[in-house]
Symmetry: C2
Subunit: 428 residues, 2 copies
């Protein structure tokens, strides 16, 4: 893992900043898939599943029998962990619920904001070789709390046409309405435009590979999406009070995701920087996903030496990391220095995996610097607002000249006329 | 204006639903512009302004002198109307402010949601021949209330290189930090990626033509955007208590926007339907923007006869209109029937232009059915959240087995290791 200065970090970053993503090839495939799914519906879904996931299915929906099998296949230890996580996630997200509000004035004006849940939501859960039951919890629970009427999951099957029992158990536990065995851009197209089996939804949420991400970008606007997720990242700010062993383990946990994952440590202690570097090498040797970790760290892992915490936080706000760990003295005193981060973990005993699985806040977080403008997934993602406006006749008359003036200033005379007919009627 | 049934309306809609937007030509132009602005910065902005707006500028930023001239050019009546509107918009949006919250448990767990404003926002204001001071108020005021540090406006100049004095006066009144004379896709590219003059922003908001809308779709993800706005729409639900004159005037006010604008009336009264149809013809004759109105109404204007209000509201929820006017008896009793609408106007004295200019709620609303998943622009668009997680050593130890179980179920063993090193240290 490279040891660099803040200056060197900025140079590396700026050198890469004009690189355009080369999505042209992916886009061509994705747009063809979307077109075919819109035209041929379920038939296209089954064909792409055969072609891309290597399995010929007769039916897309997971059956009751398969849910039953899944329940029997998972361990009791897993069920207990899942239940405890579900409780924590529910408790945290319940605090995000929003209510409609209204104001009334003496002259007969009512203004308000009405909050309504989305009708139907689709959750994409990555699958194939891996299983992500935590994705199910983190996406379905806030939608349920918002009051979404119907929540469906799409996830690619393995080559035997099966879905991981852990994912199915989680889906059943949180009350998903259906699970469909379909992944990739074809799943996104189905959720966005509907097929006879997979009905059109109002919003698509959940992570995925680059085909899924590009498909989400393309359907965005016709349907809402949570975000276009980039590679996962962690930024650990550490001072001399941090344990090098803990910091190293946390950086490594990020690096195991994939080769694009970014693990960055910013430290005021040159001694700690050296210790972390050495500990990383020692720990990596013992880890299963050693190869991915080594590639990820060599490409995107950096330990940055800074002179003080002010410099550290200025770098943090430039990076706007998905995950930020503050392994420094009195971390909560420094929260005001953080402007941009998806989730902030305080102290030596709040490692990222605690947030990924268990603590309660959502693990779907803005990546690649988008924490500068985006939020963690939450109940608010599944609610929308309508403005309410009611004026009495007398209140409208009192406002009428101002409205006519503004409408005419914009050249919209039929707008002015809509007020004038009411003014004329009042004075008739 | 065509009189049809709900069934006929649905048939028309479904017949058009598979039409793909033909954006390929626009996209090619837009992507070239974005590329050139990223490569050549201000030079590209000045070149495109000369080419597309027909004026050769020396400087992009509006000067203090130009602001002074604008102040002197506008009428006192306009200033008074603008101030009254500003007050109402401020009062309404102030109620949307959000605060950070935290919870603490006895075993040393702190969880929370920290709310932070975006750093910098760009507001696109359409220009050229038209002037939209209301766009300035509706976009800048909520950003200011959110606490955004810097708010800049881009708007295309007229062929003399000038910006409308009404727009400049509004920009000064609400405290915009700068106004740049640049429009189209080039303005969106500048705001998304930055040039020496127009700095990169975190979010771009505001309406625009199809080049602006496509450019926003392309930069989305690198920067936040408010929405991809489609044609403007109104849906009036009217019963026999509605005044045909008022309904007609309101439908016409929508139709004058452009030929794509949609004016729909749904009524339970066949008599009223006929009266509205006739009144529309009479009123149209007297309106300045008669030609646009006639084209818009013939393409997209519909009066739909329904048997009862239940059928009316089921149609409303399918349409998810940008503007919904309920010109029926006891309209507030029917609010629960409305699931999807951008803004809802109640009664005979709450016409859409009241909301466009004056009442207080935002006039930037989800169009083209996107009210099924999107909200009016609000203070919440300029705020973002960070999750906060702090566990004590003992709280983490109590949770550690569950976290390890979940991480291992997902095959992420370095995640499990990050918990294990802390478990080992505790028991050492």
């Amino acid at each position: 893992m490279k040891l660099i200065t803040a200056e060197q970090f900025r140079q590396e970053r700026d050198a890469g900043s004009l690189e355009q993503d080369s999505n042209a090839e992916i886009d061509e495939i994705v747009l063809t898939i979307i077109k075919e799914v819109r035209e041929s519906g379920d038939k296209a879904l089954l064909q792409y599943t055969e072609k891309l996931d290597g399995v010929k299915l007769n039916q897309l929906a997971v059956t009751d029998e398969e849910f039953r099998e899944a329940r029997n296949a998972v361990s009791k230890t897993f069920i207990k962990a899942l239940k405890a996580a579900k409780q924590n996630i529910t408790d945290f997200h319940a605090k995000q619920k929003e209510v409609s509000w209204f104001t009334h004035s003496e002259d007969g004006i009512m203004l308000g904001q009405k909050v309504t849940p989305l009708d139907k939501v689709g959750v994409y859960v990555p699958g194939g070789k891996a299983a992500y039951p935590s994705t199910v919890l983190m996406n379905v629970i806030p939608a349920k709390l918002a009051g979404v009427n119907e929540i469906v999951i799409t996830t690619p099957p393995d080559t035997n046409g099966k879905i991981s029992p852990e994912v199915l158990t989680a889906a059943e536990m949180v009350g998903a309405d259906a699970v469909y065995k379909v992944g990739g851009a074809q799943a996104i197209a189905a959720l966005a435009y509907g097929t006879p089996t997979v009905k059109k939804v109002a919003k698509i949420v959940g992570p995925g590979n680059s085909f899924v991400a590009r498909a989400k970008k393309w359907v965005y606007g016709d349907v809402a999406i949570d975000m276009i997720a980039g590679p996962s990242e962690i930024c650990v700010v550490a001072d001399e009070t941090a344990s090098p062993e803990f910091v190293a383990a946390d950086l490594l946990s990020q690096a195991e995701h994939d080769e694009q994952a970014r693990s960055i440590c910013i430290t005021t202690s040159p001694t700690l920087a050296e210790e972390i570097k050495q500990t990383i090498d020692q720990q990596t040797e013992k880890l299963e996903r050693k190869e991915i970790i080594q590639k990820s760290l060599s490409a995107n892992g950096r330990i940055i030496n800074v002179s003080d915490l002010a410099e550290a936080f200025s770098l943090v706000n430039e990076i706007a990391p998905e995950h930020l760990q503050l392994m420094i003295e009195n971390p909560s005193e420094k929260l005001g220095m953080v402007k941009h981060a998806g989730a902030i973990f305080l102290g030596n005993y709040s490692p990222e995996p605690l947030g990924d699985y268990f603590a309660g806040p959502n693990h779907t977080l803005p990546t690649s610097g988008t924490a500068a403008f985006a939020s963690p997934l939450g109940v608010y993602d599944f609610l929308k607002k309508s403005s309410i406006i009611q004026y009495s006749n007398s209140a409208l008359q009192a406002a009428s000249d101002h409205i006519i003036t503004m409408a005419e200033a914009e050249g919209l005379t039929a707008h002015a006329n809509s007020i004038k007919v009411r003014k004329d009627a009042y004075h008739a």
